[in-house]
Symmetry: C3
Amino acid sequence: MMFISGVLRFLFYKYQAICSILRVASLNTLYPGARIDYKTNIASNCSIVCVKGGKLDISNCSIKAGTQIFADKNSIISIKDSFIGRNCVIAAKENITIKKGCLIAEMVVIRDQDHLLNASQQESREDKFITAPICIEENVWLASKTTILKGVTVGAYVVTAASAVVNTNIPAKQLWGGIPAKFIKQLT
Amino acid sequence: MMFISGVLRFLFYKYQAICSILRVASLNTLYPGARIDYKTNIASNCSIVCVKGGKLDISNCSIKAGTQIFADKNSIISIKDSFIGRNCVIAAKENITIKKGCLIAEMVVIRDQDHLLNASQQESREDKFITAPICIEENVWLASKTTILKGVTVGAYVVTAASAVVNTNIPAKQLWGGIPAKFIKQLT
Amino acid sequence: MMFISGVLRFLFYKYQAICSILRVASLNTLYPGARIDYKTNIASNCSIVCVKGGKLDISNCSIKAGTQIFADKNSIISIKDSFIGRNCVIAAKENITIKKGCLIAEMVVIRDQDHLLNASQQESREDKFITAPICIEENVWLASKTTILKGVTVGAYVVTAASAVVNTNIPAKQLWGGIPAKFIKQLT
């Protein structure tokens, strides 16, 4: 029984690794603007799209199941040496940068655009956007269900609490939480 | 390389479109109370169920991956000309109406029922519900992770902020946010 | 048409039931520390992992699509007679107990560990954790997108409101909500 489970586990992980490599290869072929390296592991049911004219650069990341990464025309997404949990959404129409050593938990949303707010403009809300670049500095930890709104820079070593909605810049080495996110404490 | 990626992309989108049409056809056959038109696009891993005696009417919608739509016995769900993001949950035991032009972001939950709250009744909490109809008027935008609770009417052109929990009616052309959601500003 | 849809529905549910049984069987074989009984129904796209040295005991549960349950080395997860919704995350490095009759809605996160907060320690944030056991007593209802943090005991018959973030113990028969979760009302 232990032997069978060991063999099964070995085959299971090999199978998963091969699927991940095939996914990376097909994404690089499908999207000329995408550059995803083979140290990046992509789990099942992810949707990774780089529209023609966009750039998507992912290296040495672990991307868990169900996550969506979308680089629209003329946008740039760069993610390095980071962990991205299940069912996240990272969607750029301008620029999203995630620097090395970040831990991004499940269901985190990072989107550098909003639809238009006002009703008079809303006939076309689906197609019009206000964008502003997002930068997540090194070694940030975004806890479960955090949302990062357009134009935000999150400083190095920052931690956000679960379900935080961040609509303003956070200086380095601070813990923030709540809706909208507020300063909780200084980290050392 | 560009040529291969172009051909691959063409085949990929054709494949997705055919899967979506097959999904619509099988849902209409599986559930006699369901009427989903062929302008509706349904992505992978969605769970769309219409229990016998329920009605489910979806037309001209784009429904993204992993979303669950559940119309229980004697309930009615109607969704028209709207966008529904990834991993949403729309579950009716009475009535949920989503009018045309709505933008519903990922992980939004719209549920017209609650379990019973009180402990003395809780032996049977799983099977008993308090229901009240939900109506989302035209051109509403529900941002990421919004929750709409039972009995709520969301007015036309309303916007909810990320992670809002809406437990009361919202008049037309207003921005609301927070837990529970409060008025933030008038839209024009 | 009604006949075809009836036959289709019959085959569809049989197919789903067989898939669920195969999943339970393969999980029990793959992970010697896992004991998942055949009354437990596991939907598609779940990730259930029990690392060598961990224990995972699930009986008579309904686990919906996309949910992740992860028992790390030396940790124990025990879940009995409960419902677990779509896209939940239950991740233990020490101990998570969910007693009978619990209703856990979609996108609920229950995690008995945190990464280190402080920057000086953050070079190794990915591998170091602070853990404390979580206990969810009988007949608890955790509404949509609730988060339960490390060290929390949730009393019997408790209800949490949608998107609550619970960082402290909740006495039995109370309704709590908000970020962080606060007392809302006594239940009877």
